[in-house]
């Protein structure tokens, strides 16, 4: 089906868009942002803020760009005097009761009211004769505070809860300038996706308790990433301040998570800031471990692999990148290997109105990626193999006491590629410091086989390296080698050699919204039916 295109002129720029497109979206195509508050592409449009009024040739009145569909030959002016004056008028009215407490407001620096007022608002107020409206801060739920004084009644939060989460616990109460966002006394804003109202709020009216007064927006470094919380693979931004992760926020991807992420994912970041990290390679020398350099450590790793008689077991975290999982697997290609990935589980929590978007029961991001490179998800099967294994590689898995018991009773040599060194793994032969997903580049494959890149958001501690780097070096062997991957993109290319499903794509190809991996799936990479990836 071919879409019918309509050509319009917006501020002198011609743009062709599908019939039915709104002016505000058509303007985006032309690179023009029509200022707006109530409009949001993932919510129904009520056209109430009246900020996006634009001049449309032949129309007697200014038209709301968010709900007015383009028409062939239409001439739209966003920058006309009339439109600017209307916006200035809206801004003046939005400010009369706004506290202007930007110095203590978390939204400052990323506030749409601040931005547009700076851009085209009046220099001063004409409302100085009156006291501003005041209402105390309200506690809406586990992570959300409502600051009514800052509210501009755009109703995005109400519409999100009503139309997207389909759990209308917020309302507009009262009328006129007494109106405020209300909540039922019998309910809390504790929906598993409730935190999105904080992102949706264009001002600092709905704020996160977790982020409260933590950092100024302009001090944050923002890195495109993928949520490591479950197999949905929501696109996110990792916000860091001075190399510390301070919050995760959703990054739009209409195919995966639209503009949203769940609260579980949002709050699941503190592990990225742990201070008790392994910072140098450690080799066991009798009863204790000695820090060493990477050359020594990699030599030792090579010796252990070459010296392995019998089979090997990989116990991996599902948070490892596809590159790390794949290359660690490849590193043992000459040995019979049982590779398993750890998949914690929890309750599924869908976002009602968005098809195929949920906090998934499988609470780790790369189950599919692991499967594609020959990992099974039957953890116990992996543990049982330990009894007869010659080598076990722990790839940052979180080990329970029972896991540790299995390892202790195993005759295998133990290599830990980890971020944290558990006390109970004191018998590890080799401990190699690796990076978390926030400290490296890599990719995850979500449950719909979409492979998505994430970027390094903070520096690695000490000598830690991505696990794919460690494995890549081990595969290349000692000495300077051109074949060892220096980047995640190169590591990814190495996957393609071994598992054809990856061969057709590249990092450039994936961009920042990912790409769905096509069949033939794992033809030569492993048997699809095998839950345990014994090859």
């Amino acid at each position: 089906m071919t879409e019918e295109l309509v050509t319009v002129t917006i501020d002198g720029l011609q743009v062709s868009v599908p019939k039915g497109t709104t002016i505000i979206e058509a303007a985006k195509q032309a690179g023009i942002l029509v200022p707006h508050y109530c409009y949001h592409p993932s919510l129904p449009s009520p056209a109430v803020c009246r900020m996006c009024l634009v001049e449309v040739e032949k129309a007697p009145k200014l038209m709301p760009a968010c709900v007015t569909a383009v028409a062939e030959g239409q001439v739209v002016r966003v920058d006309s005097e009339k439109a600017k004056k209307a916006r200035e008028g809206v801004l003046e009215l939005l400010l009369i009761n706004h506290p202007l407490d930007c110095p203590i407001c978390d939204q400052a620096g990323e506030c749409e009211l601040q931005d547009y007022v700076f851009q085209e608002g009046r220099a001063g107020t004409r409302y100085s004769e009156y006291a501003k409206r005041f209402s105390p801060v309200e506690d809406f739920g586990p992570d959300v505070l409502y600051v009514p004084n800052r509210c501009i009644l755009c109703t995005r939060c109400v519409r999100f809860m009503e139309d997207v989460a389909e759990d209308p616990v917020l309302n507009v109460s009262d009328r006129g300038d007494r109106a405020y966002i209300g909540i039922s006394s019998e309910q809390l804003l504790d929906h598993p996706w409730a935190g999105n109202v904080v992102d949706l709020c264009p001002v600092g009216s709905l704020i996160s308790k977790d982020f409260l007064h933590k950092a100024r927006a302009w001090d944050l470094d923002k890195t495109a990433s993928v949520c490591p919380g479950c197999t949905q693979g929501c696109n996110i931004t990792i916000d860091t301040r001075d190399d510390i992760v301070v919050r995760l926020r959703p990054r739009p991807n209409l195919e995966v998570n639209r503009h949203f992420m769940c609260d579980y994912g949002r709050m699941n970041y503190r592990w990225l800031n742990r201070g008790d990290r392994i910072e140098a390679p450690l080799v066991r020398d009798g009863g204790h471990h000695v820090a060493t350099d990477w050359d020594t450590a990699l030599d030792r790793l090579g010796q252990l692999i070459r010296g392995t008689s019998g089979s090997a077991v990989i116990l991996a975290t599902g948070r490892a990148s596809t590159e790390s999982l794949g290359l660690v697997r490849r590193m043992l290609d000459r040995i019979s290997v049982t590779a398993v990935v750890q998949v914690p589980s929890g309750e599924e929590a869908p976002l009602a109105a968005v098809p195929n978007l949920a906090l998934r029961a499988e609470r780790t991001p790369n189950v599919t990626g692991a499967e594609l490179v020959g990992y099974g998800s039957d953890w116990t099967a992996g543990l049982l193999e330990l009894a007869s294994a010659g080598l076990v590689i722990v790839l940052d898995a979180e080990l329970s006491q029972s896991d540790l018991d299995f390892i202790a009773q195993s005759p295998a040599s133990v290599v830990l590629l980890g971020t944290i060194f558990p006390e109970e793994l004191r018998n590890a032969d080799l401990v190699l410091p690796i990076t978390t997903m926030a400290e490296e580049n890599g990719s995850y494959v979500n449950r719909d086989r979409r492979i998505q890149r994430y970027n390094q958001a903070k520096s690695q501690p000490g000598m830690a390296r991505p696990a794919w780097w460690v494995a890549g070096e081990a595969i290349a062997g000692p000495g300077p080698s051109a074949s060892a991957p220096a980047t995640a993109a190169e590591a990814f290319e190495l996957l393609g050699e071994r598992w054809p499903v990856f061969a057709a794509t590249s990092y450039d190809d994936m961009g920042f919204t990912g790409r769905v991996l096509m069949e033939p799936a794992i033809a030569s990479g492993g048997s699809k039916s095998a839950r345990v990836g014994t090859l």
Binding site: R50, L62, R126, Y127
Partner: protein, 435 residues
């Protein structure tokens, strides 16, 4: 008869003929006065023929906007299997207007008959009459009339044996002026806040419960049986001035006038005759200062403009205002215009639904400025500020509530600036405590 005064010879009582006659409220009484003949007549015609008759009459919506009724009905889609709805707007809340209340109080069956005819014409089986919550008496009277008309077979599953189902349901409002706006009314019936909707879609495309819907004012529907019985041509002939303003019009007159009440005049009657002859003029020793001719939402007219104005849609526009709902607020020389304009602004600030920024904040701010002027704290800059805000509140929002707040402010400053100046310059004692 007329109520509360007997009809004046200069009136042309069509709708108001039986006002004040309690017997006309009953089914039998209404039938005795020729009632329900119109409905029986049209049930033998096609809906298209009914719409044609209304088009011929030139009848325009009596709620305020003056949209041609026949044309409105013809915009409804043809029968397509979906339910169609008729909504009767009985939310009369426009300050100065009290005509629909009298229609419901005295001629409930006339309204029901009009509803039934309209429902038939637009292919609706259900009509909701939205009666404002404060109208307790009209509600009771209408409720009884619906019960009677249904029991007697005029309404119900088989209206007058025609096989047509025409059901009338009363829906009680609960105190919100804005529900008189037709799309806000639809939301209110659906059990929502009475927020006006964005148009398009228009109600004829997607109205009540998303279905094709026509919304008509009480007076409009009450006229319909008369048009049907006496013919569109007859109605069209009732016009003293502009051929686009036909029929009779109930004018609610209130304020500083000897005999306030509803007066039914032929379109084009001079306002001067209404004020000085029919209503008995000003109170002794008083002179006319201003008239708000179409309910509080229209620009204020000076005495000179009012005395030279013809009462029809075009005549009032020619004098810088609008006929609106034809609620005439008459003000004599004792009126403090600033105070009354403030009182109107406060009304709109109270009634704003809170959706659009300009309305939510603008109505409240203008009210405060007027309060300050009345408190003796006014400044010259306030004139420009009021005019700027009014401009910002005009033509920018989903509905016209904020425009309605701005209209009396702008016209008030234009025509009665000296009264504002008196407060600002301290020549007049403050009327309010400082804010």
């Amino acid at each position: 008869m007329g109520y509360p005064h007997p009809s004046h010879p200069k009136e042309n009582p069509v709708l108001s003929k039986h006002f004040g006659d309690p017997e006309a409220r009953t089914y039998d009484g209404w039938v005795k006065r020729g009632g329900y003949e119109g409905l029986k007549k049209i049930l033998r015609l096609t809906p298209e023929a009914v719409i044609e008759e209304i088009k011929t009459s030139g009848l325009r919506g009596r709620g305020g906007a003056g949209f041609p009724t026949g044309l409105k009905w013809s915009l409804m889609p043809k029968a397509d299997g979906r339910p169609h709805y008729l909504v009767c707007n009985a939310d009369e809340s426009e300050p100065g207007t009290f005509k629909d209340r009298e229609i419901m109080r005295w001629t409930p069956h006339g309204l029901l008959e009009g509803c039934a005819i309209a429902a038939y014409a637009i292919g609706a089986e259900r009509c909701y009459i939205y009666i404002r919550g404060e109208f307790t008496d009209p509600y009771k009277i209408m409720d009884q009339a619906v019960e009677e008309a249904t029991a007697r077979g005029a309404l119900g599953d088989n209206a007058f044996g025609s096989g047509k189902r025409i059901e009338v349901i009363l829906h009680r409002g609960a105190g919100a002026y804005i529900c008189g706006e037709e799309t806000a009314m639809l939301n209110s019936i659906e059990g929502k806040r009475g927020n006006p909707r964005i148009k398009p879609p228009y109600p004829a495309q997607a109205g009540l419960f998303g279905m094709p819907t026509t919304i008509n004012n009480v007076e409009t529907l009450a006229v319909v049986p008369h048009v049907v019985m006496r013919g569109g041509e007859w109605y069209k002939g009732l016009s003293l001035s502009n051929p686009k303003s036909t029929g009779t019009k109930l004018i609610s007159v209130c304020g500083h006038i000897q005999r306030p009440g509803n007066y039914e005049v032929t379109m084009g009657t001079p306002m001067k005759e209404l004020i000085y002859d029919m209503c008995g003029g000003m109170r002794p020793g008083r002179t006319l200062k201003a008239v708000i001719p179409g309910g509080s939402s229209v620009p204020i007219m000076s005495a000179a403009e009012a005395e030279d104005c013809l009462l029809d849609y075009e005549g009032v526009v020619a004098k810088g205002s609008m006929l609106g709902s034809a609620g005439m607020i008459v003000m004599d020389d004792t009126t403090d215009m600033v105070y009354q304009i403030w009182r109107l602004a406060r009304f709109y600030a109270h009634e704003s639904c809170a959706q659009c920024t300009q309305c939510r904040e603008g109505t409240a701010w203008t009210t405060r400025i007027l309060e300050r002027i009345l408190a003796g704290k006014g400044k010259q800059e306030h004139f420009q500020l009021l005019l700027d805000l009014s401009d910002n509140m005009t033509g920018k929002t989903i509905c016209v509530l904020s425009d309605s707040c701005a209209a009396p402010i702008v016209s008030g400053i234009q025509k009665f600036r000296h009264e504002f100046e008196a407060y600002i310059q301290g020549a007049r004692e403050p009327a309010l405590a400082a804010v």
